[in-house]
C-alpha cells in the first residue's frame, strides 16, 4: 500500500500553468514546471483546495462510478450524513434511504449511525485519558494526514478511534454476511462521499491496516439519480433510519464535538483555520480544552468538493432536518470495542525536512536563508513556486535554479548591458584595449542573448 496515495489528481491536458493552485495549496505541494502544475505527493494531504480554485478544472478527484454495483451479489450503501443536507425540504431521512434501495443497493447502513457509536466511545475515551487532553478529532482524513507530516508533537493527542465511515463499513459487512450467508468478497460496501479525502482514506487508511469500504461514490454523481427515485418513494417508506441528532450533526462543523456533551471544546473548519489551530495547540496556547474538532472543508463535511449544495445552505438544511429527531438512535450496547479502536499507530513522516540528516538539513537551511535575501520577496509565483522562500527551498533541494526567478534574470540582464555600454564607450574613446575589448564585448552580447532566450523559454512554457 502506498503511504502517499492520492485521490486528488491533475489533468495535464486542461492545465494552463497559471498560479491559482500553487498560491492556495495549504501545504505548498504544487509547482508549475514546464508550463504544467505538478503535485508533490509527499506534501499533498488531499484536502481538495486546488480542485476548488482551478479555473480550468484541471484538478479532479478519482472515485468510483455507479456501475461498481454490478461487481457484487449484494451491495450496501453507506450514505454520509452530508448527503441528507443536499435536498430541499427533506423532513424524513427514510425517503433518501428508500431511494438508495430503489437505485439498486440491497441495503443501507447510515454512517451517521456509526458516528453515534464513535461519539459514545469518544466520551468514554476522554474520561479515561485525561492526561492526553486535548483530544484531537481524527474523522477528517486530510487533518490526520496534515498532523502526520507537520505536527509530530500532536500525534499523541489524536483520537485513536476509527472514523464513522470505517465503523459503519465493518458493521455493515457483518450484518450483510449474517443476513445473506454470502462470503465477504461477494458483498460490496459502498460509501457515498462528500470529498476526495475519504477516497484516500479507503485506499490507504491511517489507523487501520485495510479499510472495509470497497468503493467510494461521489455525492454529486449520486444526487441527480437519487432525486428522481426520491419522488417515487411513497408514504409507506420502510423505517430504515438508525441515527438521530448526534449522528446526523456530524455532517457539519461542530457536530462531532456536539456529540460529546461537553462545553470545553473547539471546532475549527477550513484548512487554513485548521492549520492555525494546530500551530497554536502545538505551542500550548489553549488551556482547559477537552476536545478539538477539525474539518478541512469550510462548514465541515457539507463543504466537501464532491457535494452540490452551498455548504452554508446545506448546514441550514441539516439543522432543520435534525430538529425533531431523537438525540441518538444507535448505541454501543454489545458492539465490541475492537470495531472502534485503531489497530495501527500513525507515524510522523518528516517530509518537509530539507536534507537526509540534521547536518545536511542545517547547511541547506543556511543556503535557503541566504537565497531568500537575494530573491525579491514579491511571492509573484512566476517561477512556479508559491513564494520566494519556496523557490529558495526548491533550489537548495536541486529542483529549481535561480534563473527561474524572472526578477533575478532581469537584474542580470541589466548588469550585463551596463557592462557592455562601458566597454563600448571605452572602445569609442579609442582606449588601448583594441581587439581584446572587442572580444570581451562579443562575449557579453552572447551572454545577454542566451539569458534573453531563457526568458523566451519561460514565455513558451506558459503558452503551451
Amino acid at each position: 500500500m502506498d503511504k502517499f496515495y492520492h485521490s486528488v489528481r491533475l489533468d495535464p491536458e486542461l492545465c494552463k500553468g497559471c498560479i491559482n493552485c500553487i498560491k492556495r495549496c495549504p501545504t505548498e505541494a504544487i509547482r508549475v514546471r514546464g508550463g504544467k502544475a505538478q503535485i508533490n505527493s509527499k506534501f499533498c494531504i488531499d484536502c481538495g483546495e486546488c480542485i476548488r480554485v482551478c479555473p480550468h478544472h484541471a484538478k479532479h478527484a478519482v472515485y468510483d462510478k455507479l456501475d461498481v454495483l454490478k461487481d457484487y451479489e449484494y451491495t450496501v450503501a453507506l450514505p454520509a450524513p452530508s448527503l441528507y443536507s443536499q435536498f430541499n425540504n427533506l423532513d424524513d431521512v427514510n425517503i433518501v434511504l428508500a431511494a438508495l434501495v430503489m437505485m439498486g443497493f440491497d441495503d443501507v447502513f447510515e454512517v451517521s449511525a456509526a458516528a453515534e457509536l464513535v461519539s459514545e466511545a469518544t466520551r468514554r475515551y476522554i474520561e479515561t485519558h485525561q492526561e492526553q487532553l486535548p483530544i484531537i478529532s481524527t474523522a477528517c482524513p486530510s487533518v490526520v494526514r496534515l498532523i502526520r507530516v507537520r505536527f509530530p508533537n500532536l500525534i499523541p493527542h489524536m483520537l485513536p478511534l476509527n472514523p464513522p465511515i470505517e465503523v459503519a463499513a465493518i458493521l455493515a459487512a457483518r450484518r450483510a454476511m449474517e443476513k445473506t450467508g454470502l462470503p465477504r468478497e461477494k458483498i460490496g460496501i459502498i460509501f457515498i462521499s462528500p470529498c476526495p479525502s475519504k477516497v484516500t482514506y479507503v485506499r490507504s487508511p491511517l489507523g487501520t491496516e485495510k479499510s472495509e469500504v470497497d468503493h467510494v461514490l461521489a455525492i454529486k454523481d449520486v444526487y441527480p439519480k437519487l432525486l428522481s427515485y426520491m419522488k417515487g418513494v411513497g408514504n409507506e417508506s420502510p423505517e430504515l433510519v438508525m441515527s438521530g441528532r448526534i449522528g446526523i450533526g456530524w455532517g457539519r462543523s461542530g457536530g462531532e464535538a456536539g456529540g460529546l456533551l461537553t462545553e470545553s471544546y473547539l471546532a475549527a473548519d477550513g484548512i487554513e483555520n485548521v492549520i492555525r489551530v494546530l500551530e497554536d495547540l502545538e505551542d500550548q496556547k489553549f488551556t482547559n480544552l477537552q476536545f478539538v474538532e477539525l474539518n478541512a472543508c469550510n462548514g465541515g463535511c457539507v463543504g466537501g468538493v464532491l457535494t452540490v449544495e452551498n455548504p452554508y445552505v446545506a448546514e441550514v438544511k441539516l439543522n432543520r432536518l435534525r430538529k425533531y429527531m431523537p438525540v441518538a438512535r444507535s448505541h454501543m450496547g454489545n458492539v465490541s470495542k475492537a470495531v472502534l479502536h485503531w489497530t495501527k499507530e500513525v507515524q510522523y513522516e518528516p517530509v518537509f525536512r530539507l536534507g537526509s540528516n540534521m547536518m545536511e538539513s542545517f547547511s541547506m537551511l543556511n543556503q535557503v536563508e541566504r537565497l531568500c535575501k537575494k530573491l525579491p520577496g514579491l511571492d509573484c509565483g512566476s517561477c512556479g513556486a508559491p513564494t520566494c522562500k519556496a523557490l529558495a527551498e526548491d533550489i537548495v533541494r536541486g529542483d529549481a535554479s535561480e534563473n527561474d526567478c524572472v526578477y533575478y534574470l532581469r537584474e542580470n540582464l541589466h548588469r550585463l548591458s551596463e557592462e557592455v555600454s562601458i566597454l563600448a564607450d571605452d572602445l569609442a574613446a579609442g582606449g588601448n584595449g583594441g581587439q581584446e575589448t572587442l572580444n570581451i564585448l562579443k562575449e557579453y552580447i552572447q551572454r545577454i542573448s542566451s539569458e534573453m532566450s531563457l526568458l523566451d523559454n519561460k514565455d513558451d512554457d506558459d503558452d503551451e
Binding site: 507537520r150 509530530p152 508533537n153 500551530e279 502545538e282 505551542d283 500550548q284 496556547k285 510522523y348 518528516p350 518537509f352 525536512r353 530539507l354 536534507g355 540528516n357 540534521m358 547536518m359 538539513s361 542545517f362 547547511s363 537551511l365 543556511n366 535557503v368 536563508e369 527551498e393
Partner: protein, 140 residues
C-alpha cells in the same frame, strides 16, 4: 559553511496579533532542519512566552536566535522597566500584568516559569529602568 544561522526579529509593542510570529518562524525552520520534535516544542513554547512578555511589559524589543547543529540560543533583549525582584517574578502565578492584559487571557504568572521550564538553560540580566536581556538555550 557558516556553523551558526542567525535570525533577527523585532517585537513590536502592544501588538498581540503579531506576538508569536517570531516563534512560529523559528519553529518552522527547526522542523525543516529535522530537529527532534521535543526540542522544537520547547523552543516554540519558551520563545512564545518571551515574546508575549516583551509585548506586555517592555514595549517590544529584539530577539536574536542562533541555530547551530547542537543548540538553539535565544536572546530576548528589551529596553523595558526591568525586573525589580527576579526571584519573585520566577514564582509560578506571580504577575504584575495589568487588568486589561489579564482580560485578554494573559498574565497568569506563568511566563518566566514556563520559559525556565522549557529551556535547558536560562540567564536573566536585568536592570531596573534600563531593560532586560534573557538568554535561553535549548540543546538539540
Amino acid at each position: 559553511m557558516d556553523d551558526v544561522i542567525t535570525l533577527n526579529y523585532e517585537v513590536s509593542p502592544d501588538d498581540f496579533t503579531r506576538a508569536g510570529e517570531a516563534s512560529s518562524d523559528v519553529k518552522s525552520k527547526l522542523k525543516q532542519m529535522g530537529v527532534n520534535p521535543e526540542a522544537v516544542r520547547k523552543v516554540a513554547i519558551a520563545m512564545y512566552e518571551g515574546e508575549i512578555n516583551m509585548v506586555i511589559h517592555a514595549e517590544g524589543g529584539r530577539i536574536t536566535v542562533e541555530i547551530s547543529p547542537s543548540e538553539i540560543k535565544m536572546v530576548l533583549a528589551d529596553k523595558g522597566p526591568g525586573i525589580p525582584d527576579v526571584d519573585l517574578a520566577m514564582q509560578a502565578g506571580y504577575s504584575t500584568a495589568p487588568d486589561d492584559i489579564r482580560s485578554l487571557g494573559f498574565g497568569a504568572g506563568m511566563g518566566l516559569p514556563n520559559m525556565k521550564k522549557y529551556s535547558d538553560d536560562m540567564v536573566i540580566d536585568t536592570t531596573v529602568g534600563v531593560g532586560t536581556t534573557i538568554t535561553m538555550r535549548v540543546t538539540i
